[in-house]
Symmetry: C2
Subunit: 439 residues, 2 copies
Amino acid sequence: MNIYDKLRERGIEIGDRVRVLRDNEEICGVLMPRYSIYEGENLLVIKLDNGYNVGIEVDENTKVDLVSKRERIVFKEEKVLFDKSKPKVSVLSTGGTIASRVDYKTGAVYPSLRTEDLIKMIPEIEGLVYLDAKQIMSKFSEDMKKSDWSLIAREVYRSMKDSYGVIVLHGTDTMSYSASALAFSIRNKNVPIIFVGSQRSSDRPSTDSYFNIKASIITALKAPFAESVVVMHGETSDSYALVHRGVKVRKMHTSRRDAFQTINDYPIAKVHVDRMELEIVGRIIRYRSNEEPVLMDKFEEKVALIKFYPGFDEGILDYFLEKKYKGIVIEGTGLGHVSNDIIPKIKELIDNGMIVTMTSQCLFGRIDMKVYSTGRLLLKAGVLPSKDMLPETAYVKLSWLLGNFKDLEEVKRLYLENLEGEINERLSLDMYPKWITDQ
Amino acid sequence: MNIYDKLRERGIEIGDRVRVLRDNEEICGVLMPRYSIYEGENLLVIKLDNGYNVGIEVDENTKVDLVSKRERIVFKEEKVLFDKSKPKVSVLSTGGTIASRVDYKTGAVYPSLRTEDLIKMIPEIEGLVYLDAKQIMSKFSEDMKKSDWSLIAREVYRSMKDSYGVIVLHGTDTMSYSASALAFSIRNKNVPIIFVGSQRSSDRPSTDSYFNIKASIITALKAPFAESVVVMHGETSDSYALVHRGVKVRKMHTSRRDAFQTINDYPIAKVHVDRMELEIVGRIIRYRSNEEPVLMDKFEEKVALIKFYPGFDEGILDYFLEKKYKGIVIEGTGLGHVSNDIIPKIKELIDNGMIVTMTSQCLFGRIDMKVYSTGRLLLKAGVLPSKDMLPETAYVKLSWLLGNFKDLEEVKRLYLENLEGEINERLSLDMYPKWITDQ
């Protein structure tokens, strides 16, 4: 019998507040469900008051006591009134931290957020907007596939018809990939598509869920642009959120609330959440319009993103050749290089009809393959220079192009063209951040 | 007969200043060698006065005229006097932009730099230091292999015996990988090992070669630390250089002079080149000493660095299994994740004796695989969390550990241990740069 079963016999359940005494150390917190069925029989998980979970190995000398029974979470069956004369904003939930809540009754994480919950979370939006929430999937963003991008694209496309803006709740890990996917897969966007996530879940005191969702609603209501964007905290405090162009944003920190940052461009806008204002600070590629959006929701599965590094195994390229891949985006070094000894292999891939493109692991700056002979040989072999496109965006773009266009010359032409602001022809000096010693 | 041969018949040679007239457009500059033998018969390369090269297709309507003959570069056969009573600093050249110079006589790029050239470049160092320059290889840094890391390690180790510091001239593309390799492969370092490169070659007006080399010599003379570091421009102007710990630095821009930046730590020092002063601004892991350095110069070839992304092909992991790889460093998403469906495959690799570790493509922040169930399942499968190590550093470290230690438990233990400052247990808020909107 595992420790949870033993505690249950004593009337101590998940969600209850407990005190654990071991080796003269006292730990207080809420009893949480075990991480997984693989955990040891005697591992207890406690959520501390600072929001962190700790795992405690329970032995015969460990004492676990009940401090207080869990708070019963009961949703009042109140009818939330929607004022349909207000602008409708669609909220599509895909899962992730922002759309999850621990249910202490079952111990499960609820990966959904109902319209009612949204309204309750942010009472000041009631009356301003007619929110229409829908759960379209329930995934951690690290589990997203290209087929999920297509699904999100279809759902967003459907919602755009009668919405003033579409908000997509999404896990942060691969949010920038999905935001890029939507930038390309819905042509002629007429309203903004707003990806929003959270770095700390709603059950933690430091959660950024409410702030970010509120910022996304303000963006949906006030944005003059109709692009696929990411709205997240602009800095660590609750001062403002930033609106990043989906094709130019990257998650640059594992845990900070301001993890999302625009690379090689300015963010589009700042959202002053307290004043409920949106301030344009960057360029706008596409404005709201009455155009009819066009859905092009296919993504070619056989496209890969490959990072080059010293000691890179050329056999990887053979693997993709054998598997009949159609495209490869290389994350090369510096201005767009790989070692000279693999250039013949890359040429072989291209001669076999594969499209191979070059991005840089530096992230900042522009590919320039004309400066050194290595780059020139790669150009000669037929590698496409991705200018200042992020590796992740280049990967999504090539997957999308190969999914929707049959003519390879057309694919190559469009790859080098700026479709959604993914290429910035005017990099300015201040688009490089200020590093530690400058601050 | 190609255009270069035709011009030579008219007495116009590489290095001469020419004027090209085509379609009423006039281009003036220095005639440069062709990029490669693959170029078309009629392509002419001209170096403009702004330092950039342009390729011009010459047809029957194009006129090429001589403006002036090239300047004859003659090295005076003067004897440079070395004062052996001064501290000896070894300068090992591996190639790269910093160690290259176009010879207009042959059209070839000289990938070497003689001691005499160094002294001529930076006359103010004469009398301060006894420089001993040696060319140990001549490679673009994108062509560096693990065997080159070993070679550099052996040469540096040899030079350390009687030097006050060892400077390694290196291409910038993979300089941080090599600097990490040296950090691990020479134990008990007693003098600083200083990697220096340049983002613009010495024949361009905007070159940073002299500034960076001077900064590296100041570092060799004045550093109290004995670590493997990278010394490069600290900002775009010629104000100061930064000394970055090799295991914590990354090339973050394709072309800027201040491309190298420290991630998840402070740089070790600032070099005020004009005043020839070194100011410590970060932590020092190892000081100069009389300890005997120990060479451990092996790197396991069968270690790979793999970036995870949505649509990642699990077959890649099978490839590495078949090829009997011994280690894989994953560049995962967020806090250290991959999609849940490939966790069983990762477990299979580990069960087959492979060491699999996790880093984050966010670059900033720390791996924490205990927050979400995906991370916990990965830990359960045996994946090692790399804390705040850079993916590139983690790759070098695992290659080095597997190259030098037979016991896998020892390898795992050392991987998680902080050996050379590659792990920073104290990340502070200001180690995240200030982004565009904060500036």
